[in-house]
């Protein structure tokens, strides 16, 4: 220790300076993932009370939807928020999925980074295996209460109820208690399903970035799901199905060689069970035929028959470089399941009170070797607010993204689209203005999020380009509609000018010629209607489609509602009609409804 000005410093500091490697090694130990995320829970979306509540619901619902779809069951999901105290909630989510076999319950709900989705390339909502266990961990940390899981795998088998308590230091869960329900507990109407209940600190507030908004948007992107939401004030909000067709199951694919990084390649080489390089390339990657495999090997200075165990770092690097140079087919895209134009429209129609709807599904493309596709839906007019910036709602594999809009590739794509070409006003470097909701969906085997909390899609050029193309397509259709609407208005005015004078003309003509004024009037009226046919496109439109003469009429990707149908459309199911005093109300729309809806204050139910 020399005599430096630092001698004046506090003792602990001085002591640390003098620590030996041996002493330091005592402090150095493995950090479990759960410990890491418990400290950095904001990375997973648990940074404040309001967002934590939303994240917990979101993780549970995403898992439920994934489970139902994988089992081929039309999802029927019930979300309940029970307010225990000012800042304490019990979140319960129940699905009609296949249930979870007993021995996996601890793993799925009690370990971080444990899941079926990380190690394979398949389109699904969850991908890392963090979400639901993180929610349980957050609940345990804020309330000390364990997570309650009830699972029933078969009608004839009893449901099991397990109370789990996480041990963050070991990234494991301890079973607190375990009971068997009687076979006919009536909890799962379909005879199978899972229910998870988490007690946690939270804050319930409606509006933007709320549980309500998440469910609204989930209903748009998942019109095949039936969701029941019981709010903390004991209202029941129902999101009805827009379609009874389950989306087709997504296929799992092997990684594409172009999307692999050197480190990953080396890891794969270390782990493979193949003995020769040719077999390794052909079996563990997609799109590598024997001839392509040979080409890669020769370029890397080895042969397909080279033993994998002889491949060192230099050879791996050679293979990597050869892959980049080789001509390899783009990955198969049948692994992607788009929502589809029809379902997109049905989702929007169900949840947004607008007059014009259009949607478009782009063909699949590839970024970093991962296939993806972009879909865009657009709703215009109706009861959407006119003088505000348009609303962009974002989805990744059907999951709504509520946070970090401006960091998202989709947001940038909207900004870069020239909306003025379609008759929408837009200031420089800002969202366009008008009564519009734009919905952007990215479907991919691997969605590149900017963070673990899955809030924004990373800005890859390929992704943004596809988004812009899709936006342009729906924008063009909107432009056609707006121009036509303008023309219809004009024609309507023309007709009223003609009709105004027909009475006078026919009466005077009768006085001159003796021909019946009524006959003249009726004939002239026919001519007036014919001359202003354009205006009839609306007048005659009782149904949803406009006349065939209209360019948009034949387009299945467009729905136009006559003004009076917009309101009726939302309350089309008679049994759902809201009656006073009933605690049920129709699912709220994305706009205006939160203020407008009657919210009966009925006494809290049991619990």
């Amino acid at each position: 220790m020399d005599a430096s000005p630092n001698t004046a410093m506090s003792k602990p500091s001085t002591r640390r300076r003098g620590a030996t490697a041996e002493e330091m090694s005592l402090q150095q130990r493995e950090i479990s993932v759960s410990e890491f995320f418990a400290k950095n829970r904001h990375l997973l979306g648990f940074d404040n009370a309001r967002k934590s509540l939303l994240t917990a619901v979101k993780e549970a619902v995403d898992n439920a939807l994934d489970a139902c779809e994988e089992a081929g069951v039309l999802p029927d999901i019930r979300v309940e928020l029970l307010q225990r105290s000012e800042s304490r909630f019990k979140v319960t989510v129940r699905d009609n999925g296949p249930g979870i076999v007993r021995h996996q319950i601890e793993n799925i709900f009690g370990r971080l980074l444990y899941g079926s989705k990380f190690h394979r390339l398949k389109m699904s909502r969850g991908q890392q295996g963090i979400g639901i266990s993180a929610a349980g961990m957050y609940g345990l940390m804020t309330t000390g209460q364990p997570v309650l899981i009830i699972s029933k795998t078969h009608r004839k088998k009893p449901a099991v109820e397990v109370l789990l308590k996480m041990d963050t230091s070991k990234n494991r869960a301890d079973v607190v208690s375990e009971t068997e329900h009687p076979e006919d507990d009536g909890l799962f109407a379909d005879g199978h399903g899972t229910q998870v209940a988490i007690e946690m600190e939270g804050k319930y507030q409606q509006g933007r970035q709320s549980v309500d908004e998440y469910l609204d948007q989930t209903a748009i992107a998942n019109p095949h799901a039936h969701i029941t939401f019981i709010t903390p004030s004991n209202e029941t909000i129902e999101y009805k199905r827009g379609t009874n067709e389950l989306p087709p199951e997504a296929k799992e694919i092997l990684p594409h060689p172009k999307g692999i990084e050197l480190g990953t390649l080396i890891q794969m080489i270390e782990r493979t069970e193949r003995s020769q390089v040719g077999g390794f390339l052909q079996e563990e990657f997609s799109r590598i035929s024997p001839s392509v495999s040979k080409e890669i090997c020769l370029k890397a200075g080895i042969t397909p028959r080279t033993w994998v165990k002889n491949v060192g770092h230099a050879e791996a690097e050679g293979i990597y470089r050869a892959i980049q140079e080789a001509k390899i087919m783009a990955p198969a895209t049948d692994c992607l399941v788009p929502i589809g134009t029809k379902a997109l429209l049905s989702g929007l129609l169900k949840e947004v009170k607008a007059e014009f709807f259009t949607a478009c599904t782009r063909p699949a493309d590839v970024y970093r070797g991962n296939p993806f596709l972009i879909e865009v839906g657009l709703a215009f007019g109706g009861e959407l607010p006119k003088d505000e910036l348009i609303r962009v709602i974002r989805f990744a594999n059907r999951v709504p993204l509520l946070y970090q809009q401006s960091a998202c590739a989709s947001f940038k794509a909207v900004l870069e689209t020239a909306w003025r070409n379609y008759g929408i006003s837009q200031s420089r470097a800002s969202l366009p203005e008008g009564p519009i909701v734009v919905m952007i969906h990215m479907a991919s085997v691997w969605v590149p999020f900017t963070s673990e909390s899955k809030e924004a899609i990373a800005d890859y050029d390929e992704i943004r380009k596809e988004m812009k193309l899709a936006l342009q397509e729906v924008g063009r259709k909107l432009g056609i509609y707006l121009r036509r609407r303008q023309r219809m208005k004009h024609e309507g005015e023309r007709r009223s000018i003609f009709e105004r004078y027909l009475g006078e003309i026919s009466q005077a003509t009768e006085a001159i010629t003796g021909t019946s004024a009524k006959r003249i009037y009726d004939s002239l009226l026919k001519v007036a209607k014919r001359k202003t046919e354009e205006a009839d496109a609306v007048l005659d439109d009782e149904g949803k489609r406009v006349k065939d003469a209209d360019p948009l009429g034949k387009d299945a990707s467009v729905i136009i509602l006559p003004a009076r149908a917009i309101r009726a459309n939302r309350a089309d199911a008679p049994e759902e009609t809201v009656s006073p005093g009933d605690s049920k109300r129709a699912a709220p729309g994305l706009f205006g409804d939160h203020e407008a809806a009657v919210k009966p204050k009925t006494p809290r139910r049991k619990g």
Partner: protein, 373 residues
């Protein structure tokens, strides 16, 4: 010369009613055929007006403008046309006459189910009535319509107006108000000693001449047309010229408007070119005021009225009319006025002496036959 006192004859009336019925039938037929009804209206613009050099009068060309019901710009006019045609039919059947203003009121009402009136003002109705007149190739008189009375006459003549004998020598200070309809069926000429007609632009000048008994001392007829003479005055002048062989001499202001009044009297108006044949007096003469009179008569600077831009533009237009273009005296007259840079009214002669115009100016010019054609 004298004719029976009637309004239009029964045959003219039947003919006119037939024309209205034909118009109505065209509309009814087009309507029942579910097509777009239309009326072809001859255009009343300079482009559709030609100057007939042999007959020395303006004639309307063949150009027509199709007025469709199913055209947003024409629908209202079309309606008004049918409506006023019906009004004229009522009038003819009742064998009565109405003023233009009367017809406007007869057809004025709010269109059922709107708050729009059939006409905004009388001007709108008057224009449509002229359209009907030309479309049916008939005359306002035959539709039993007349305009507001304008114009006065005194002089050595006795006329019979709907049976009443009127001695124009005994009209006091007011004179005989020239009726709007001066057809032979309404006005006939009885005893006439006058040798010519002096037509002055307006009432104030006419009063000067009447007070000085000019018509008596010079044995003539004295008329005025309150500016641009209405059809009644023009028709009467025409008949005095044609039927009694009286030359018509005009005393008008020295400005483009005076020149155009002369032009209308002489070869007809552009707007009513279809009536030129029964109104234009190709032999009419222009006595004054002439642009040279300022110096000739030694007038003071006070009478000068500067030409404004509109005057200059109008003067140039008039000089280019085909019926003026080939007349050197007129080209000289107009260019001198433009050179002078000012115009003069007839009243400017009063600055010389109260009766200078009646006692010196006009008699001297008449004697010298100093007029332009």
């Amino acid at each position: 010369m004298a004719r029976k006192p009637t309004t239009t004859t029964a045959s003219v009336r039947q003919e006119t009613l037939g024309k209205i019925a034909a118009l109505g039938t065209t509309v009814a037929k087009a309507a029942l055929a579910e097509s777009d009804p239309f009326v072809d209206v001859p255009t009343r613009t300079i482009s559709n007006t030609t100057y007939n050099e042999t007959r020395r009068l303006l004639q309307m060309g063949d150009a027509t403008l199709r007025r469709n019901l199913f055209n947003t710009g024409q629908a209202r006019k079309f309606m008004q046309m049918v409506l006023l045609s019906k009004g004229c039919k009522d009038l003819l059947e009742a064998q009565k006459t109405l003023s233009l203003r009367g017809m406007y009121y007869k057809s004025l009402h709010t269109i059922a189910g709107t708050n729009e009136k059939t006409f905004d003002d009388q001007e709108e109705s008057d224009g449509i009535l002229e359209d009907i007149e030309v479309s049916l190739a008939t005359l306002r008189e035959n539709l039993h319509l007349f305009a507001k009375k304008r114009g006065t006459m005194v002089g050595n003549i006795t006329v019979v107006d709907k049976g009443d004998s009127i001695d124009c020598r005994r009209m006091g200070t007011g004179g005989y108000a020239i009726p709007s309809i001066c057809e032979p069926s309404v006005v006939q000429f009885a005893k006439c000693d006058a040798k010519f007609v002096l037509h002055v632009e307006k009432d104030t000048v006419w009063s000067r001449f009447n007070e000085d008994r000019f018509w008596e001392t010079h044995n003539c007829i004295l008329t005025e047309g309150s500016g641009q003479p209405p059809r009644g005055v023009r028709r009467l002048l025409y008949r005095l010229n044609k039927e009694l062989g009286l030359p018509v001499i005009c005393l008008l202001d020295c400005d483009p408007w005076g020149h155009y009044i002369y032009s209308v009297i002489k070869q007809g108006s552009i707007n009513l070119a279809f009536e030129s044949e029964r109104m234009a007096i190709p032999d009419a003469r222009y006595l004054g005021i002439r642009s040279a009179d300022f110096e000739r008569c030694g007038l003071s600077d006070d009478v000068k009225i500067s030409l404004n831009d509109r005057d200059i533009e109008r003067a140039k237009q008039i000089a280019e009319y085909p019926w003026f273009a080939k007349k050197k005296p007129w080209q000289k007259e107009i260019s001198q006025m433009l050179r002078n840079g000012f115009k003069m009214e007839v009243e400017s002669l009063i600055t010389k002496d109260i009766s200078y115009v009646t006692e010196t100016y006009v008699p001297e010019r008449l004697k010298a036959k100093d007029w332009i054609d």
